[in-house]
């Protein structure tokens, strides 16, 4: 099969590779680049488990054609964790407030939160809930996730992030 060349920035590092054009960004991340932190739970844009940031915008990587990734800056859950293993303030808030259970939706939840707080550092509860409608969770009932995001927003303000 004819491949296409893609080049973009992933979590601060340049990526250049040849890929099959029918792939989704999700496949490129997981199967080609081995970054399996981004999860696939539905493959049709309904659940948000595969959410990543493309140029700072939260997108479902299962719906994002690989051909459109060139020239963009992509951030995945791996990019939020420091190389020494330290979690970002958003992840820490999720940890401290019980915002993860089975954890399968967590990378997507965290990335949606990153996009939300970048755009709206002081979200109300209903703004948080409305930002989360594209991210399904079957374990938590969302209560501790909402509390985690509120905590992250507070911590973000304190840290001036």
């Amino acid at each position: 099969m004819k491949t296409i060349e893609v080049s973009f920035e992933l979590n601060g590092f340049p990526v250049g590779t040849d890929v099959e054009p029918h792939l989704r960004l999700l496949d490129l991340l997981r199967d080609v680049l081995g970054e399996t932190g981004t999860k696939e739970a539905c493959g049709e844009g309904e659940c948000g488990a595969c959410t990543v940031l493309v140029d700072g915008r939260a997108v479902n990587s299962c719906l994002f054609p690989v051909g459109e990734v060139s020239g963009t800056v992509v951030t995945t859950i791996e990019g939020l964790t420091a190389s020494n293993g330290e979690l970002s303030w958003i992840q820490k808030a999720f940890l401290d407030r019980g915002g993860t259970q089975c954890g399968f939706c967590s990378p997507g939840m965290v990335m949606t939160t990153a996009a939300l707080l970048a755009e709206n550092p002081h979200p109300s509860e209903s703004e948080i809930r409305s930002a989360l409608t594209g991210n399904l969770c079957r374990c938590t009932g969302y209560v501790q996730i909402v509390e985690s995001i509120q905590e992250a927003a507070r911590a973000g303000r304190v840290n001036g992030l």
């Binding site: 999860k39 259970q101 089975c102 399968f104 938590t140 209560v143 501790q144």
Partner: protein, 798 residues
């Protein structure tokens, strides 16, 4: 004051960082060198004869390594009734039936190969409801039983009945009787992480299955049978459990895809991975059972219950899973939610050509509680008392022995009722707003809290292994699936042994290294793990203290030398202490009676190294202890419906305020209060998570979720058409409160808490709708269409 160091704390979950950092490895993320990808060809009919399977084109596709049908492999029978076969021959009985399977070098090639398999069928008439299946001339789903003997009906050979008290006399003596029909739909567990496994053989014929399972040891037994079938008798089966992306009961049985992966791995000599897509998860993994109830309850003039009769009919689908035994669990609430002097319970489980069903959180209890708690409000209205009052006067009490023989050592039901009523301002609000479409409702629950004995052993083993640095490695056979078992177990090990939670490390669950456990179900994980851990910790402490008799004086002497201190003759004599004078807490050995001097405290790791590397030569001692806990319970006699199946029972009440839009039928939850008697809070963060999550599933069950089928075909196999509650749907305050009854059987007094959250939510909502607008919904889910229809019927004078 409980006096605990860690029990009840809000510590974060130990595996949380890896989950939040994307580092936790789910079955989706795991690969093996040389691994092949498996894919199943499922049936095109709900009921049909298989005339011919043509796999030639699939086999010829480059990249395909094996195509198997029933003709290519030995027959692998499974299911607890042994009525299911991994690859079907002769006929298919449901759309989910596996007729062929492929292993290929990529998932894409496997998918293409499956599409190239052609199957010729001769369609047969099917049965798609219990009524159809029980009709006189109904086609049989199974013509033979697993032994090959002919069968005459579509009824499963399972009996679960209960009769107690003098029902006739109780009926006659009743001042009020209510009678109605209720039903619940099939719903999907909807784990975010879909089902999958990797099966691999080594060159000695030993099998390892990395499985998304809740029952590693029962799976090991099931897979060992397959080895025998394959001529590999005596070889080892190892089941390894990766991080689970949710389970909720879906991992309580072994599955066709697991057996097929094993067969493909055996055929190809390569590791084979099978991973379901979301639509496969909906179509080819078993949902929760649907059920229909006829219920009759009576009471005297004051509202005291006189009798309860329940008949349940379950649409089982085409094969038996453990889910067919829901009535065993229904018995608990049917006989023992409230004091009921005369009870009749009967169950009928029916084979149909629908997809077969399996376990889901609550396992029959949300179903039967829907009927009981809806019906109880009707009865209260007949008496003319309020729903809170009827529950209160019939409440169970601590010390009760219920008609099923359940021994309620502790029972906080009355307290849960009172707190719920108080939080909702029940006395001034319920039934007092005739002009507003707002209402209050409540419903109660009883749930097994100390295991649930459905096998001969309901036990659990644990190994605690201390290393030279004072760290504890824990091998436990139960499964962390998101519920917080590891959170609670970490705190219980730390508390019982006397180390810090950050020194406790829980190993991956693996049948090769973990002691036997029956499985993680029936809200039993933390209860069982904690009791097992207490036993092993006790042994370790005894041995540490015994060894300290010899080593402690030397270590203290070293402490003194390091600090340049000397002890005077009148100071504490640390040289001749006995084992029973030591204590261990937060990872430090100390002598409670001694003065609080820094050199008298010894860090556990240092003590263990001193024992291990003693000057006169090590004593060869390692500090590894195991313990097996078997709860003091009875395997019930299901034909009598009698036996104390759990060591204790959790109770709870949920109260809800709703608003009903009388123009659209839409129900909005305004607030929800959940008060639960869980014996003791172990891990507060995990416990809250279980309650919030259970309630969310309860709301989904009540208002949204339903697997829709047409002649056995699932019509909504995805999140687009199957509605899971979103964060916006659940935008109402949930207030949690925990009643700590400190059960004598529980570790630190704790009872099971995994399932209760989901159990009473639906009837609490339905009862609130009745208070709001005066209509009673009998069939879940409570969609706006049903509410609107009921409102319209209410307006028509009868």
């Amino acid at each position: 004051m409980t006096g605990f160091s860690y029990i009840g704390s809000e510590a974060p979950r130990p595996e949380g960082a890896d989950k939040l950092g994307g580092r936790a490895l789910y079955i989706n993320d795991i690969t093996r060198p040389g691994m092949l990808h498996g894919k199943i060809k499922f049936s095109d009919h709900a009921h049909a004869l298989i005339k011919h399977i043509d796999t030639a084109d699939a086999r010829a596709l480059p990249g395909v390594r094996a195509v198997i049908t029933a003709n290519d492999v030995p027959e692998v029978r499974y299911g607890f009734l042994r009525d299911n076969i991994a690859l079907k021959s002769g006929k298919v009985r449901q759309f989910r039936d596996e007729v062929a399977a492929v292993a290929a070098i990529s998932p894409e090639i496997a998918r293409k190969a499956v599409d190239l398999i052609r199957v010729e069928y001769e369609p047969l008439p099917g049965v798609f409801s219990p009524e159809e299946a029980m009709a006189d001339d109904a086609p049989l789903v199974h013509e033979e039983d697993p032994k090959g003997d002919p069968v005459v009906s579509n009824l499963l050979p399972l009996k679960c009945v209960h009769q107690s008290g003098d029902l006739e006399a109780a009926r006659r003596a009743s001042a009020h009787i209510t009678e109605a029909e209720y039903s619940v739909p099939r719903i999907q567990q909807s784990c975010l992480g879909t089902a999958g496994c990797i099966a691999e053989f080594d060159l000695n014929g030993n099998l390892t299955v990395t499985a998304k399972t809740q029952i590693p040891f029962l799976a090991q037994r099931d897979f060992t049978r397959v080895l025998t079938t394959l001529g590999l008798e005596g070889r080892n089966v190892r089941v390894v459990v990766p991080t689970l992306g949710g389970a909720f009961g879906s991992g309580l049985d072994t599955h066709g895809y697991e057996y097929i992966s094993i067969l493909l791995a055996w055929k190809t000599g390569k590791p084979v991975k099978m991973l379901y897509s979301r639509s496969e998860e909906f179509s080819y993994l078993s949902p929760r059972q649907s059920a229909h109830f006829s219920i009759r309850q009576g009471c005297d003039r004051e509202g005291k219950l006189t009798f309860r009769e329940i008949e349940v009919t379950q649409d089982n689908g085409a094969y038996g899973s453990w889910g067919a035994t829901y009535p065993n669990v229904m018995l608990v609430a049917a006989t023992s939610l409230y004091r009921v002097p005369a009870i009749s319970f009967n169950s009928t489980i029916v084979y149909t050509n629908n997809t077969y069903c399996q376990a889901m959180r609550g396992y029959g209890n949300p179903e039967v509680t829907w009927a009981i708690e809806s019906s109880l409000d009707d009865l209260a209205e007949k008496v003319g008392i309020d729903p809170y009052e009827i529950r209160r006067i019939n409440s169970n009490e601590p010390g009760d022995l219920t008609p099923m023989g359940l021994d309620l050592k502790t029972c906080g039901l009355k307290e849960c009722l009172d707190i719920t009523a108080e939080r909702l301002d029940w006395a001034v609000t319920w039934g007092k707003r005739p002009d507003e479409p707002r209402g209050l409702g409540m419903a109660a629950l009883i749930n097994v809290g100390g295991g649930g004995k459905i096998y001969r052993s309901d036990g659990s083993g644990i190994i605690l292994k201390l290393d030279d640095f004072g760290n504890v490695n824990v091998s436990y056979g139960g499964v962390e699936m998101g519920q917080g078992l590891h959170s609670a177990l970490t705190l219980m090990v730390a508390e019982s042994l006397g180390v810090k939670p950050e020194s406790v490390f829980i190993n991956q669950t693996d049948t090769a290294t973990s002691p036997w456990d029956v499985g993680t179900h029936a809200s039993r994980g933390a209860f069982m793990a904690g009791n097992a851990a207490l036993g092993a910790a006790r042994k370790l402490r005894e041995r540490i203290f015994a060894a300290a008799e010899e080593v402690y004086p030397d270590v203290v002497q070293q402490n003194l030398a390091r600090l340049g201190e000397e002890t005077g003759p009148d100071e504490f004599d640390f040289r001749s202490l006995k084992a029973d004078q030591f204590d261990l807490k937060d990872g430090w050995l100390f002598v409670p009676k001694a003065p609080k001097l820094p050199w008298l405290r010894v860090e556990l790791g240092r003590l263990l190294r001193a024992i291990h590397f003693a000057e006169e030569g090590g004593k060869g001692t390692t500090f590894t202890e195991e313990s097996f806990y078997e709860p003091p319970t009875e395997l019930p006699d299901w034909e009598k419906g009698y036996g104390n199946m759990s060591a204790n029972y959790s109770f709870g009440v949920q109260g809800v305020e709703v608003e009903v839009d009388e123009d659209t039928g839409e129900v909005t939850i305004l607030r929800l209060v959940a008060v639960t008697d869980i014996g003791r809070v172990l891990s507060l963060q995990a416990l809250k998570g279980q309650m919030y999550g259970g309630i969310a599933q309860g709301v989904g069950y009540a208002l949204y979720e339903e697997i829709k089928t047409e002649e056995g075909r699932i019509l909504n196999p995805g999140f687009t058409d199957y509605k899971l509650p979103t964060a916006a749907d659940l935008d109402f305050p949930i207030e949690l409160e925990f009643v700590e009854t400190n059960d004598p059987t529980g570790p630190f007094g704790a009872k099971g808490a995994g399932e209760p959250g989901m159990v009473p939510t639906a009837p609490a909502i339905a009862n609130a709708i009745y208070d709001a607008v005066g209509v009673r919904i009998h069939d879940l889910p409570i969609t706006p269409e049903k509410v609107l229809k009921a409102l319209q019927e209410q307006k028509v004078p009868s």
